[in-house]
């Protein structure tokens, strides 16, 4: 049985890229920073990612996508009531935000926003992430009995609002935007019952 901490070089590089770009964005993250943080040499980085920084960013965004999707799924399935699930999600995001001392916001947007124009593959990776999260929320609402179109629209606003509230919380260094967003999303969902 293998210790689960033991991860390969490639995986360490992806994780380091994801975390660094989450905090400093695409342009603010250097390949040397990545290789140092991942405890790998620059040669190894280019060995695994011959496409260079863009390829790395795409992979890192995919990693952030998966990470956030996991959190979303866990919390949504823990709460049976969809409105309660909204406040639970907000509470979870607020905790992560505060615990990292407002360092770790959305693992996708910080890097994606600034490079969406210049590097189309990066934007496309971010788009896949948003679609993934939207689908997870929509499915939860459909399983809770909402009609497909209502669930789809609500899921859009849920994702947008959590994204915006997390960003606002990060800038303001306060969980208030997330707390309030959770309450309001629960109320909005309830209003369609």
């Amino acid at each position: 049985m293998r210790a689960k901490q033991e991860v390969g070089t490639r995986e360490r590089i992806v994780r380091a890229t994801s975390r660094l770009m989450q905090r400093h964005g695409y342009e603010g993250t250097g390949l040397k920073d990545i290789s140092r943080e991942a405890q790998a040499t620059l040669g190894s980085v280019y060995h695994f990612f011959p496409g260079g920084k863009v390829e790395l960013a795409v992979e890192a965004i995919g990693h952030g996508d998966h990470e956030f999707a996991g959190l979303l799924r866990t919390v949504l399935e823990r709460e049976d009531d969809p409105a309660a699930a909204m406040t639970a999600c907000a509470r979870e995001l607020a905790a992560g935000m505060r615990d990292s001392d407002w360092m770790d916001g959305c693992p996708v947007t910080t890097a994606a926003l600034e490079s969406a124009r210049r590097f189309p593959p990066v934007r496309e990776a971010a788009e896949r992430a948003f679609e993934n999260w939207h689908g997870i929320v929509r499915d939860k609402l459909v399983r809770s009995g909402f009609p497909d179109d209502v669930a789809g629209d609500l899921a859009h606003t849920v994702v947008s609002t959590f994204e915006g509230a997390e960003m606002t919380a990060q800038i303001m260094r306060s969980t208030t935007p997330l707390d309030v967003a959770g309450t309001h999303l629960a109320r909005l969902v309830d209003s369609y019952r």
Copy 2:
């Protein structure tokens, strides 16, 4: 009477910085890009902004703050009904987004997110912007008859949701997130009447 297009060098530099950082972020915007876009020399840039890039970013975020606040105020005062004002805002943001071919999102967040940690003055400038926008929305709701605490909370979610929806729209290259957000915010506001 002076032609209104005629702006001084300092103002041209601020505007160029704001636009470029809106699109490419803080690290993605070079001082040479700025001086070229502003049709000013590098010497002039440092003449007006001896504090260098950080001072420029703070000024540019203040400019974006003022710009977005103006749009917000205009649209909110045009619509008497607060719920209708929400959908009108969303429509306005969606139009700006589509017309720029998804280049120009929020003039503050793209630059602020990636540099909030490294350069505290940049984060503080972004915080002032968010507080300013929050106050504008809250005042509109208070004038519409909502109690102070309800209006304050709603204003938080309105700002968060518009921010998140604009970001999502930019990544997805679709106005749907903004359209849906407008509808839902109107419904949420109405639910407190």
